[in-house]
């Protein structure tokens, strides 16, 4: 079974090619079916590999499959190979299963759109690229997938291309991540030059053998890789693209900008964690950066009025938690939060999409209201998702993963407690902003006409994910709640044993309390109408600042965009060309001067000749 591993990325890729070539001929029904079934098959394959893995893990829990030699040169070779270990298996499972659900959801959501088959071609291509990214056994191949998902993200964000703002958002998302990717590319070049290979395992072994912890090389290399990861995962300072990326269709946001692609940075760090361990300062920086991100994003989430933007900021914030875990070396915690986040955030996005579908694509939460009775399915799904996001104790998956992270952070050395405190603050804010949305959208009076109904292709993904968001947390529980460690044991071969370090009792207690407090705040402010009033009154400068994501966009506009545009405008007509035109002008001036001598009069001609003769005789006689 496991020998068919290559089929997992190949299936969606193949289907993407088919859809790309013959999509317009096939019609929407077949296109949708082909797109979904291919990912479905990949999911089935992944699940069966996963089941088989649990019962009969391969030696060292690693399965490698070399497809072909990509580049073989003396001193430098890259094999196109797949590398399956628990971490990548987990990623593959999440990508294929959630991907399949989202495809299914899309078949109904995108009904009647122009470019239906194009949509599925892109989406399949994305899944294939993402799978390649996580399965790659070589950083260069990983980079192929890495850029591949970036391009698919670009294409899908700009899917409704007739609206120029969508195009702008798509370009922004691609360019910002591209900037990060260049840093990552530089990192790859550095690693491959210094270590002679980009094969991840060989490279890690080489790095550990040649570099000492804390030395310059690993610090530089990991910094470069990290910048790549930060860009892809929308972390400060490269986070500005994610809110804009919400211009794409909602299932796309669910798949790419919540569940899978944006967590690629987390995956990258986990995958190369041995290298990061050689650079402790970088890990510290990750942790600090993560805290900044999660707070900035959480604050920004508090003042958004577009439901998808709230979710976008919450994605940023939650990935901040993952990075926080990475910063303190709690790899399984990060992966666990990745898993739960993928489930509940996909659920939230899909639900948001499902709501908007019925409200004539309305996304402003203040234009909604009282939808609880009108859309019970959406209400419950959104509630479960929000609870999980807010980490509502015990009943939600998000609680367990966030608890695992915060526990690990609190146990970390000195700055640990400060980071933890920020994490708790973030948790309060998370609960506040998401329940702000829940209360605003589902309680109160009905504001917008509701039309249509949900088909089975909407319902199945929502229900499945809701169930997931409720139960998936029980894979790993803290001591007081059964001390289940299936998840970390599963990952142990790849990232080492994870110890739940003992911490003061206050820590889990506050972890319990923070979400509840947040929900309380949200409810109180909802009841006294603060949320609703904020939309009608002139927002304060501070609010505007926070709403725009703490001014990063403006800063970057001033710092980069404006100078770039000025430069382009200055250079536009090719100053070098004018330089050569100057030479041409010179020649023409000389031509005119000389030509003026040809006046046609014999006497004048004779004078010129006379002058020439005098000069000649003079040169010969007196030199």
């Amino acid at each position: 079974m496991i020998t068919y591993l290559w089929l997992i990325p190949a299936l969606p890729l193949f289907s993407s090619v088919i859809l790309g070539l013959f999509g317009p001929v096939m019609g929407p029904r077949v296109s949708g079916a082909v797109g979904t079934i291919s990912v479905g098959l990949a999911a089935v394959l992944a699940v069966s590999i996963g089941l088989h893995w649990i019962s009969h893990p391969p030696t060292n829990s690693i399965y490698e499959q070399t497809l072909w030699a990509w580049i073989t040169l003396p001193g430098f070779s890259i094999n196109l190979g797949l590398y399956l270990d628990p971490v990548s298996l987990l990623m593959v499972l999440v990508i294929t299963v959630i991907g399949c659900l989202i495809h299914l959801f899309s078949t109904e959501y995108m009904h009647g759109e122009d470019g239906y088959s194009r949509y599925f071609a892109y989406l399949n291509l994305f899944v294939a690229a993402m799978l390649l990214l996580v399965l790659a056994d070589d950083l260069a191949v990983l980079f192929v997938g890495w850029e591949g998902v970036g391009v698919c993200s670009y294409l899908l964000v700009g899917f409704w291309f007739s609206e120029p703002t969508n195009g702008y958002a798509a370009r922004k998302s691609f360019v910002v991540t591209r900037i990060a990717d260049i840093a990552m590319l530089a990192g790859l070049l550095l690693l491959s030059t210094k270590l002679g290979t980009l094969n991840i395992q060989a490279m890690l072994t080489g790095a550990v053998a040649t570099w000492s912890a804390g030395s310059l090389m690993p610090t530089v290399a990991t910094s470069l890789l990290l910048i790549g990861g930060l860009g892809k995962s929308a972390q400060v300072p490269l986070q500005t693209w994610l809110p804009d990326a919400m211009a794409g269709p909602t299932p796309v946001s669910a798949l790419i900008h919540a569940a899978t692609m944006v967590t690629a940075g987390v995956y990258l760090v986990v995958r190369t964690h041995a290298l990061f361990l050689l650079a402790p300062h970088v890990l510290d920086a990750i942790a600090v950066g993560a805290v900044i991100t999660l707070l900035v994003a959480a604050f920004a989430g508090l003042v958004q009025s577009d439901i998808k933007r709230v979710l976008a900021y919450s994605t940023m914030s939650q990935i901040g938690y993952m990075f926080l875990a990475l910063g303190v070396g709690a790899w399984p915690a990060a992966m666990f939060h990745f898993l739960t986040h993928a489930v509940f955030k996909a659920l939230l996005f899909l639900t948001a999409g499902a709501i908007a579908m019925r409200l004539n694509h309305e996304q402003n939460i203040f234009a909604m209201g009282g939808l609880r009775s009108k859309l019970p399915l959406a209400f419950w799904a959104f509630l479960i998702g929000s609870a999980s996001l807010a980490a509502l104790p015990i009943i939600s998956a998000g609680f367990f993963s966030k608890e695992m992270i915060l526990g690990a952070v609190a146990a970390a050395p000195m700055p640990g407690l400060i980071l933890w405190a920020c994490g708790i603050l973030g948790a309060v804010l998370t609960a506040t902003y998401i329940f702000r949305v829940v209360f605003t959208v589902f309680l109160g009076p009905l504001k917008t006409e509701v039309s249509g109904s949900y088909g089975v292709r909407i319902a199945v993904p929502l229900v499945t994910l809701s169930v997931g968001a409720l139960v998936v947390g029980w894979l790993e529980t803290p001591e007081g709640l059964g001390n289940q460690t299936i998840f970390s044991r599963f990952l142990t071969p790849a990232v080492g044993v994870f110890h739940h370090l003992p911490v003061s009792f206050m820590i889990p207690l506050l972890g319990f309390a923070a979400p509840l407090l947040g929900i309380g705040i949200a409810y109180v402010l909802h009841r006294n109408g603060t949320w609703a009033r904020a939309t009608t009154t002139m927002p304060s400068k501070l609010t505007i600042f926070i709403r725009s994501g703490c001014g990063f966009d403006m800063l970057y506009d001033e710092l980069f965009v404006v100078p770039y545009m000025t430069l382009v405008r200055v250079l536009r007509h090719d100053p070098v060309d004018s330089m050569f035109a100057g030479l041409q002008y010179l020649a023409i001036v000389a031509h005119r001067r000389l030509r003026a001598m040809q006046i046609g009069q014999i006497r004048r001609y004779a004078s010129w000749m006379m002058a020439g003769s005098v000069a000649t005789i003079a040169i010969l006689l007196f030199s």
Binding site: L73, F76, V175, R178, T193, V568
Partner: protein, 499 residues
Amino acid sequence: MMLVWLLVIPMLGGLLAWPAGRFHSTAPRIISLIALLSDLAIAIPLLHSSADIAMPGTWMAGFNAAWIPAFGMSFRLGMDGVSWLLSVLTILIGLFAVIVSWHEIDNGAGFFHANLLWSLAGAIGVFIALDMFLFFYFWELMLVPMYFIIAIWGHENRRRAAIKFFLFTQGSGLLILISILALAFLHQQQTNVLTFNYFELIQTHTSHTFGILITLGLFIAFIVKLASFPVHVWLPETHTEAPTAGSVILASILLKTGAYGLLRFVVPLMPAAAHSLAPIALWLGVASILYGAFLAYGQSDLKRLIAYTSVSHMGFVLIGVFAFNIIAWQGVVILLVAHGISTGALFIIVGSLQHCLHTRDLSRMGGLWGDMPRLSSFGAFFILASMGLPGLGNFVGEFLILRGAWAVAPVITIFAAIGLIPAALYSLVAIQRAFHGPVDETRDEHDFGMRETSMMLVLASAIICLGVNPQPILTIASPALNNMQPQPTTAMLKEMGAG
């Protein structure tokens, strides 16, 4: 002898095509196709042959005959992996050029195809000549037909563009002539033999300054052809004004002759001098990458935009050549082929756009995806390919170049890599302005038909193959590139790596 046929067939084809155009406008097209296909049939089997005359190094085929004995100039040809790749690329692109001109060129088809075939023959000659004067002869020879193609069948400002093209390339060509003459006479002083044989001249010892001067002459000429900053100025105008087939040949083949010249002559002939020039060359490469990218962003003429991207890409080639190692050179070869394919395809697409929209102005496009989905998707695909999307050919080339250059000059490599960011900007903006945006309802639909679609599919699969499995190309080029790296260079490289 096969190599001679490789040159003779297109030459004769051209001679035949010209008068044939008088009888029927399809006749020259058929003749060109036949000539190029038979050329291809000659070229392909050479891959597995080996030269029947003795030449140092690894050669697939060789030929030698006396030409101008008074100067020791001979008609010496030789084909190794790099020559083979570029020659086959030339023939293939030539085929595409014939096909795209099928409907575009409707007057003077005979003369057009004659020029097309002659310029291709000249380019092939450049790629396989091993006598330096013969090389120069072909180098000049391919200009004239190209000049006609631009000047007669080009767009609005074709006259200016054609003359500019010719002045730049020919003027710099004279520097080649002076350089090779100087080299040959120097060689004569040392050995009492006047010869232009590549293998003999490669053993000439030069003093430092003189070597640099000779190399500089060659270098300037080649970077003019390569269209590196600051001598790129002929390229945007020429590419823009040339007819589609002309742009395709210019971008896909003629630019490559510059890179080929650098690889084949500048580097092996005087490695020490080339090394002294390397810093300048590398910085020029960086400047080209960035400058080309900035300017591409600012253009509103789609063809001009693509032309500037060529400047940018050729900057990578320049860096790769002067990184002096096999990895970078392999990258150069891949990038040359990939750029030939992707840019060729882009010019075909723009040509077809112009054919139905009668404009190349981006501000008058937009929303084409709605009207012409096939054209637009291929357009977007090739723009992304030329942007260096991993998994496609151009990326492999750029990656290998950067990888090779990093070992020698990390700072320059970083700057070059930064150039990939503006590359993304101009690529995406081109897609946005041409294909995305609101649909213009008043336009007629002229999407790609079977002919164009199949052409595009072939090119697209080629670029994918190149990206997914570049190894065959690397294997073909490998012995040739090893030949080009003389022993002292390797030693020097180690020195540089240490320092």
